[in-house]
């Protein structure tokens, strides 16, 4: 099998378009982590988020011909991942209304001592819960800005929002996150 690891994203996309599956496999390897951060940041680290991650790549595969390289591949995939995550959240909201399952509250969250082995897992869980407490509109801004490290301008472009909206959502989200994550800071 030929070594394609040194090729740029656009070259890989071209190869995929010509029917090279190995090139697509490399794209998945390159962006798996980024898509995981977006999807799991949006949906939480639980069942269903992995399916949305897979669907993100499949949607990209189907729309390969529409990708012209105007946005970076990471940005393009982030946009798909955010949209699919929002669809999944809507589905969950409907089933939540139907089954009326009560969400866990973090007010009584027991955080292990920083020296304990379980501290890392506990703090991860608390961050996950804190993100899930945000409104989806605030969460997607936090995911792109803080988890993915996009600039506010890039975040605004990905979400197709005015930069002022991104900044105000970020501001509100940070206030809430600081409050929830107090045990960690």
């Amino acid at each position: 099998m030929e070594d394609l690891t040194g090729l740029a994203d656009l070259e890989l996309v071209k190869l995929v378009d010509e029917g090279n599956d190995h090139a697509f496999s490399l794209i998945v390897s390159r962006y798996e982590g980024q898509v995981a951060r977006t999807v799991k940041g949006m949906l939480g680290d639980r069942d269903g988020s992995e399916d949305v991650g897979q669907e993100t790549f499949i949607r990209f595969y189907r729309s390969l011909k529409n990708y012209r390289g105007e946005a970076s591949l990471g940005t393009y995939l982030s946009r798909i991942a955010i949209n699919l995550s929002l669809n999944e959240l809507n589905k969950r909201k409907k089933s939540f209304l139907f089954f009326s399952k009560k969400e866990d509250d973090n007010s009584s969250f027991d955080l292990a001592h920083p020296d304990d082995e379980s501290y890392r897992a506990d703090s991860k869980e608390l961050v996950d819960k804190a993100l899930q407490k945000l409104e989806p509109e605030q969460r997607m801004v936090v995911v792109l800005r803080l988890l993915q490290g996009y600039s506010t301008k890039e975040t605004a472009e990905i979400l197709d929002l005015p930069i002022g909206t991104v900044l105000s959502r970020l501001s509100r989200a940070q206030k809430k996150l600081k409050e929830i994550l107090t045990p960690l800071i």
């Binding site: 599956d21 697509f24 496999s25 998945v28 390897s29 798996e32 982590g33 898509v35 995981a36 951060r37 799991k40 940041g41 680290d45 992995e50 991650g53 897979q54 790549f57 499949i58 595969y61 189907r62 703090s123 991860k124 961050v127 996950d128 804190a130 993100l131 936090v142 800005r145 803080l146 988890l147 490290g149 506010t152 900044l167 970020l170 501001s171 940070q174 206030k175 996150l177 600081k178 994550l181 960690l184 800071i185």
Partner: protein
């Protein structure tokens, strides 16, 4: 109180946008003067660090699962081996149910008529046209 809110908002904004020079000067001055604001800044920096360093990954084998789906995208549904397998399974079930129904039908006919003649299976009249004529003639004779 209003000034405090304003400076807190300025502090929040300072992480994500370039402040105007006068806003920046004001924030710097307030930070130098207020230990409370410095503590607020420390907490925000720490919170952002904690959130951004949270690790997320998919389970091992994620790439293989995606590639399997890609393969499924390329091959038409009726040509996929799993489609033929599931089709066979469905038809096997239908066929077995059908055979069971026929066996039960035969059995019930046998039990009710004590025979397996063609007429008992089809539910046809045992009297043919010829027999009917002889029957009627026989009726007349009596």
């Amino acid at each position: 109180m209003m000034i405090k809110d304003e400076i807190n908002n300025l502090l929040l904004r300072s992480f994500d946008e370039d402040l105007k020079p006068e806003e920046n000067d004001w924030l710097e001055k307030e930070l130098a003067d207020s230990s409370e604001l410095r503590e607020e800044k420390r907490k925000l920096v720490e919170m952002r660090k904690i959130v951004s360093s949270n690790q997320y990954s998919f389970s091992p084998g994620f790439r293989e699962k995606v590639m399997t789906k890609v393969y499924e995208e390329k091959v038409p549904l009726i040509l996929r081996p799993e489609f033929n397998r599931s089709l066979f399974t469905v038809f096997k079930r239908v066929a077995l149910t059908g055979v069971a129904a026929i066996v039960i039908l035969f059995l019930s006919i046998y039990l009710s008529d004590d025979s397996f003649t063609f007429n008992s299976l089809t539910g046809g009249d045992p009297y043919s046209d010829d027999n009917l004529v002889s029957y009627l003639l026989y009726e007349d004779l009596n």
